[in-house]
């Protein structure tokens, strides 16, 4: 039976393992025929939506991997607006609104409020959280 998941990522790449574990779970869920309603980035997790990460070439590029996965499976990726603005993650709309020198949000991630998390929880069979470890 096909079920629906909402995944919440609160740990940043290159600080925590959270984006890696979440991607492993997400791929397995899709492979098993389940739906992922949306992926919600919260707290330090918003850094996963950065367009400007340039990790060493022998390390996995987690923002890139996540972008590709979301695009391929047409899964919405949403960064919490309050978390994102505090931590310096902005799209062009927010760049203009706050008169910032540039934008750095990676497609297909979007910026929206916690309502997206509430809605995802209601619509999904399970909502899983991927936090930073120690």
């Amino acid at each position: 039976m096909s079920e629906t998941f909402t995944l919440v990522i609160t740990g940043a790449p290159y600080s925590s393992q959270a984006p890696q574990t979440a991607l492993g779970f997400a791929k397995a869920a899709v492979d098993a025929g389940h739906q992922i309603d949306r992926v919600f980035l919260y707290g330090d997790g918003v850094h996963l939506a950065s367009a400007l990460c340039a990790p060493p070439s022998d390390e996995t590029h987690w923002p890139d991997e996540w972008s590709r996965f979301l695009t391929q499976h047409k899964i919405p990726g949403v960064a919490c607006i309050a978390s994102a603005l505090r931590r310096g993650l902005v799209n062009e709309t927010e760049q203009k609104r706050y008169e910032l020198p540039s934008a750095n949000l990676r497609a297909p991630f979007e910026i929206a409020g916690l309502g997206e998390w509430v809605e995802g929880r209601i619509k999904s069979t399970r909502t899983l959280y991927f936090h930073a470890g120690d």
Binding site: E3, T21, G24, A28, A32, H34, R126, H131, G133
Partner: protein, 94 residues
């Protein structure tokens, strides 16, 4: 696999206060899934919850060189983690 009331997913090392809290708040009907640094609980056998089912995510176990320590802990891959999360009545990520 069998029925699980609450699946507790723990990714903190045994020294993290949330690890102790997680084990404290488990009932005998619950399951414990160790991921990330959480798998280090396998190296601290005396801290494992006695009454509950314990699972550990294979890639995290192997990364930390704990392949031989599993004992009566079940190794699971991501596909089984998905299944577990649906079988349980609820999931708490610590």
């Amino acid at each position: 696999m069998t029925d699980i009331q609450t699946l507790h997913i723990l990714n903190k090392s045994p020294d993290h206060p949330r690890a102790a809290r997680c084990v404290e708040m488990m009932s005998a009907e619950d399951g414990l899934l160790l991921t990330g640094n959480g798998v280090l609980l396998l190296a601290r056998g005396n801290l494992l919850p006695g009454a509950s089912k314990v699972f550990a995510l294979i890639p995290d176990v192997e990364a930390r060189g704990l392949g031989d320590l599993s004992g009566n802990v079940s190794s699971v891959d991501f596909a089984e983690m998905v299944t577990l999360s649906l079988q349980a009545q609820r999931v708490i990520s610590w």
